[in-house]
């Protein structure tokens, strides 16, 4: 699948943008603060309806304007037309001219994996980061996962609200607990199934990038050890004093082990960077394996942070993943773009909210 056309109106620092993209490798070159990352943000938004910078719609509207428009033509099995409009008072999302009624009808039209400096938090940050990583991957690959997760969150919020009351209606409490357990068990099952499939992909990617013998292993660390309902009941006394639900998939973690040692504590800075990229590569490979087509790869500022050895490990992986009519978008400054990539790429100059193709480079 590839993004064939991107249209932006009043999105970040783009007043208007219309760009055609072929499949293959696209390098977005430009000085700082010109709008390179903003392009990746728009593509990711099309894929997931969220900003990878973790901000809401208001921040993406061009300063002093009412709303943004992001439109795209995506070529995969067929050609799909996406149009998205956001303003403080109005939200529109349409696919091939029809308003989108259910998220699950939409997600999957464009799949993307983003690599950015923030990914380091997957290794260094709290468990919530790694849960979000698993959740995103499952939402991309499992049509029922997102509604399930929303349901779990709703049940959890209800149950926590009950725990905060001074006088809890026992029957009502049991009813919401039953919901939490039945949905929670389905989430646990899907995560438990995913991690062992992801682990070898991440291990392989790590090896190739690091080019050494360290063993990377991922392990699912569920909050629930054997029986959700029983463990929940056993935690009632503690729940009463904390006034919230203490057991369940909202407390899961994904353990990252390098040579059987937890990476967050024992890995070097360079190893952590490599590990974060390996996780994202694994995500891309997993999505490719499941759907037969590679997701669009969005790579933001990652190259500048890697040493030569790791760069030369990563680039072949990226080149491989844009074969089979895939697509890669990579941002770089003029100084640090990987010239070793050679001629098989399309270069673009990004400057002050405009995009210009550098025609000297032949399109792949």
């Amino acid at each position: 699948m590839h993004l064939a056309h991107l249209r932006l109106r009043d999105f970040r620092n783009y007043a208007r943008l219309d760009a055609e993209f072929s499949p293959g490798f696209h390098l977005l070159l430009g000085d700082n603060a010109q709008g390179k990352t903003n392009i990746l943000e728009a593509i990711y938004l099309l894929a997931t309806l969220r900003s990878f910078r973790g901000v809401g719609g208001a921040q993406m509207v061009r300063h002093d304007h009412k709303g943004y428009f992001v439109g795209a033509r995506v070529v995969g099995q067929g050609t799909r037309q996406i149009r998205m409009y956001w303003s403080a008072t109005e939200r529109q999302l349409s696919l091939d001219g029809q308003p989108v009624r259910r998220l699950s009808d939409y997600l999957g039209v464009l799949r993307a994996v983003v690599f950015c400096t923030e990914d380091l938090q997957l290794v260094k940050g709290p468990a919530a980061r790694r849960r979000r990583f698993l959740d995103l991957l499952l939402s991309q690959t499992h049509p029922t996962y997102l509604p399930l997760l929303q349901r779990y969150t709703a049940a959890l919020r209800s149950r926590n609200a009950l725990l905060k009351q001074s006088l809890v209606d026992a029957m009502a409490f049991d009813s919401f607990t039953q919901e939490l357990v039945s949905v929670g068990n389905q989430i646990i099952a899907l995560r438990r199934e995913l991690v062992p499939r992801l682990s070898p992909l991440a291990r392989l990617a790590y090896r190739r990038i690091a080019n050494d013998a360290e063993e990377l292993k991922l392990a699912y660390q569920p909050s629930v050890k054997t029986d959700f309902a029983i463990e929940l009941a056993a935690s009632r006394a503690r729940e009463r004093s904390y006034r919230m639900t203490l057991v369940g998939p909202h407390r899961d973690d994904l353990a990252l082990m390098l040579n059987d040692q937890p990476a967050a504590q024992f890995a070097s800075e360079g190893q952590k960077r490599t590990l974060a990229i390996a996780l994202k590569m694994a995500q891309a490979e997993y999505v490719t394996g499941l759907h037969g087509t590679p997701p669009v790869l969005l790579i933001d500022d990652v190259m500048g942070e890697l040493d030569v050895r790791r760069r030369s490990g990563l680039l072949p992986l990226l080149e491989r993943s844009h074969q089979a009519s895939g697509q890669v978008f990579m941002t770089c400054t003029e100084e640090n773009w990987p010239r070793e990539l050679g001629r098989r790429l399309q270069r673009w100059i990004v400057s002050a909210g405009s995009l210009r193709a550098v025609d000297s480079a032949p399109t792949p």
Binding site: M171, F176, Q178, E179
Partner: protein, 200 residues
Amino acid sequence: MSALPEPLVDLMAALGRLPGIGPRTAERLALHIVQADPAEVDRLATALTTARLRVKACERCGALTEAQPCALCTDDRRDASLLCVVERPVDVLLLDKTGVFRGRFHVLGGKLSPINGVEPEDLRIRELELRLTAEPIREVVLALPTDVEGDATSSYLARRLAPRGVRVTRLAHGLPAGTGLEFADELTLSRALEGRRPLD
């Protein structure tokens, strides 16, 4: 400062408080009304106040009605041993339209919602229990929304009614998950009714 006459601004504000009407629609409707034939506006005003005065909740089932109790509650041809519990008055209309359900109805007037402070006492559950004592009801069919709060309300009712020995069933899950009845077409609704099953 607004250049619009004050009564027009008031009208726009009043219309804008109606569900599903945004500021733009409110403005369009208000502008239409102040320029329409006065007789027509009179008829609209009368229709509004009359409807509000004459339509009440049925004291027995909670559906909207002019007579007390409502026609559904007094219709002898309906099966008095079968009672369908719904969230809102409009759900009665939706289910009755399917023509498959021939029993009576009971409107809860909401669903359990700890986040919004809706507790069992806020719903018409006492009224439901009184009806179970007063009427020859043998089966209670729960036709509540399938979101978390709706499902929790269903299992709450199943727990609470269990000691009474009445059969409690719920609509089969042909319904789109996580939604209310209005998203289901009539065919889906009537299939869901036929496939109803007891709560575990």
